[in-house]
Amino acid sequence: MDGTDLLQGTAALVPHLTVITTGLVILVLDLFLTSRSRYMNEVVGLIGLVLAFALALGQAGDPRLLFSEMAIADNLAVFFHALFVLIAILTLLMSASYIRRENIVAGEYYALVLFATSGFMFVASAADLVTLFIAIETLSISTYILAGLHQDEQRSQEAAFKYFILGAFSSAILLYGIATVYGAQGHTSLVKLAEALGENDIPTMLIVGMGLIIVGLGFKVAVVPFHMWVPDVYDGAPTAITAFMSAGPKAAAFAAFLRVFFQGFASPALAQNWIPIFVVLAALTMILGNVVAITQESIKRMLAYSSIAHAGYAFVALVTLDQLGAASVLYYLVAYALMSLGAFGVLTTVAKRGERHYTFGDYAGLSSTNPLLAALMALFMFALAGFPPTSGFAGKFYIFSAAVQKGHYVLALIGVLTSVISVVYYARVVMMMYMREPDLSSSGPYVSATTGTLLGVTAAGTLFLGVFPGSVLRLAEYSVNLLFAS
């Protein structure tokens, strides 16, 4: 590895570095800000992220291996980078008024969001299990801290603790899996793994390692039965961070799944070992997530279970191991990120200061106190339930058709049935908002300009993706092309 390699590698990682640098700048800048100039945090963060977005798009092109095959720059990475930066931008918009209201330290908060984002980006561009592990750890540790940042709330600290224990537990399992794969193969490169496993016999230890990796990553995606941390953590964390967690780390974990299983362990001999496992996991996740969500009294917890269920839908696409499946995962991640951030955005405004108002009752009569907000919430609920013409419908449509094409009829059937079940609890929110009388003793929710922007963008995105699904799907298909080139 000589100087030019180093320079080329660094050039390909410029989007990541931009995000990291922005985080560091905010960290230092925050020390010099007074309470009146505090908005500079958001401004600097947005500038950095928009720059990173542009730079990330500029990386599109032929796949290149960087840093002695530790990282890869290809279109899949570009797609994910754009998604992650978008999620970070939306999170920033949501947080701007939120953290001021909840009295959360601003500089560190934004810096951690940005560092976590850089972790997501490194996951997407990892070409080696080691890079993947370090990147996952970076994003995990950032999110543990973010979950505990609401220092006036004990629940926040407890959420951080629970997240930390189970996250670290899963990291240890993931690392053990990586060690076993290393022992069986003699290296940890995902690229070489794919080549080496073409024809040869599969060593048993490799399958053991693969199983451990599934468990480790399964915790991060929160598929059933590795989901038990999600409800409590999502419930206790600051709402803006819950939104971030439901979109970012989840998408990053799916990026890891794509990299490891569609790129590394994709050979047919190996795939026949993991596809059945994935089928079972996906089915369990969809059933449990949707059924338990019905029983929830808090909308925040309901959305937590809904996020588990949606991970299940995306998981269905992973069992196909073909281009349409991979592309529909990407599409679904974008769609879900927008819906989820939008829904949580509404939650932050209705929750009011101190974050106490999460029950269904708090949404009674929202249509009369704030009709626009109610309409947006209804849109997000319909999108999450999968009604046309929203992105939720298109996403599920692609996923289930990909599953049917590969002969997974049962899985598709379970998906459709559970989607029908899910209408029950999403519709309950809408009914609350439109059918009940408001509690007039308290003032209506206050929507700040930044939160308004966020809601507008996410709603527009949800509708756009639903009406013109082809646009993003084509991009997604283009991005995953190379995984199936051979």
């Binding site: 080691v130 505990g148 004990q154 407890e158 224990i165 537990f169 690392l175 053990y176 060690a179």
Partner: protein, 100 residues
């Protein structure tokens, strides 16, 4: 010469012990220590495999994973301290959210 399998067996035993500790213990500090035990066990695997393969990569992974473990320990202890200040207990059962 001891076969590498023996080392891997010790590593697996320690890993399982650590996992049992994480799942069954209720004292937050001991849970954290069990986590460290698990990471240590993985490191032993890495070193054993590195010796088997005659490859320095394994040692580098140990390096990185030790750093990760140190970072995790620092953050974990900070969270435990914060919880202790608020509730005067580190018993996992006394935390309202903590029902596995």
């Amino acid at each position: 010469m001891i076969p590498i399998s023996y080392y891997l067996m010790v590593s697996a035993i320690l890993f399982i012990i650590g996992a049992i500790g994480v799942l069954l213990r209720r004292n937050a500090l001991i849970v954290l220590m069990s986590l460290e035990l698990m990471l240590n066990a993985v490191n032993l695997s890495f070193v054993a495999y590195a010796r088997l393969l005659n490859d320095m990569g394994g040692h580098v992974f140990v390096f990185l994973s030790i750093t990760v473990a140190a970072a995790e320990a620092a953050v974990g202890l900070a969270i435990i301290l914060a919880i202790y200040r608020a509730k005067q207990t580190i018993d996992v059962d006394h935390l309202s959210l903590m029902r596995y």
